[in-house]
């Protein structure tokens, strides 16, 4: 018996919400990046699931997932670079303490 598509999408939605929870509820910059990676992974899982269950034979979903993974790698590199710069300036990576621009 194969898995129906809504179960896969529901699992992916749960993964996305866990990532969103990490982004919104943690105060540490690296946790925010971890959450963003989890959300991107959930989106990729949806691409693959929709490709697998679509009536068309073109592998567009697979291509999209591959490009999305490459772009996520670039995003992680630049984001972690920013975390290191922020640490050098403020000696902390807690985002609630980066308040120099606060009015």
């Amino acid at each position: 018996m194969t898995t129906p598509l809504p179960l896969l999408l529901g699992m992916s939605a749960a993964l996305f919400s866990l990532g969103l929870m990490a982004v919104l509820s943690r105060r540490h910059a690296i946790f925010i990046l971890i959450g963003i990676e989890i959300m991107l992974t959930a989106a990729n899982l949806n691409f693959i699931a929709f490709w697998r269950y679509s009536p068309q034979p073109q592998p567009t979903g697979v291509m999209f997932a591959i490009f999305s993974i490459a772009i996520a790698a670039a995003e992680a590199a630049v984001g972690l670079g920013f975390v290191i710069i922020v640490y050098r300036h403020y000696k902390t990576t807690e985002v609630s303490k980066l308040n120099k621009l606060k009015g």
């Binding site: 129906p4 598509l5 529901g10 943690r26 990729n44 697998r52």
Partner: protein
């Protein structure tokens, strides 16, 4: 993809992702994140996209998770407390978003009848499709990756005075 494999993998992936989001210690969260990426790669393999699963393991587990661990080593000061307070408003928003997504999925009747009818894709097919129809995005991705990595290097270089 049969239902038993799906249940096991769902439990594994969601548990490790929840650990990555909730564990107080940063380094434990990063290692749980790597485990949850392996779970997602297994999903790809079971859905017939083995190559994407391998790319996922190579890029996410091999590069992104290791990069996160290195950043933790470079920036984290172990000050004993380790845990920073949770913001419960964020948890509520995440639960609301999950409910909204679930509602949208359950309210779409055409999803229920969808059957898995794409054949598992081979690496050869992926290569042909990439070089035939996706040449322009492929080159752009190459330029983007080069620019991003050079940019990240320049960002973190020590300033010499």
């Amino acid at each position: 993809m049969n239902i038993a494999a799906f249940s096991l993998l769902t439990i594994f992936t969601l548990a490790t992702a929840a650990a990555a989001a909730l564990l107080p210690r940063l380094i434990h969260a990063a290692l749980c994140l790597a485990l949850s990426f392996i779970g997602v790669a297994a999903f790809y393999a079971l859905l017939g996209a083995e190559f994407v699963g391998l790319v996922q393991i190579l890029v996410y587990v091999g590069a992104v998770a290791v990069l996160i661990v290195f950043t933790i080593l470079l920036t984290h000061r172990e000050d004993g407390k380790g845990v920073s307070a949770m913001n419960w408003g964020g948890v509520a928003v995440a639960i609301a978003v999950f409910d909204g997504l679930l509602w949208a999925i359950l309210k779409t009747p055409s999803l229920m009848g969808a059957t898995a009818n794409s054949e598992p894709i081979t690496v050869k097919q992926i290569g042909i499709t990439l070089t035939a129809g996706y040449m322009w995005p492929l080159q752009c991705t190459g330029i983007l990756l080069t620019a991003a990595f050079i940019g990240a290097l320049i960002l973190v270089m020590e300033e010499k005075r």
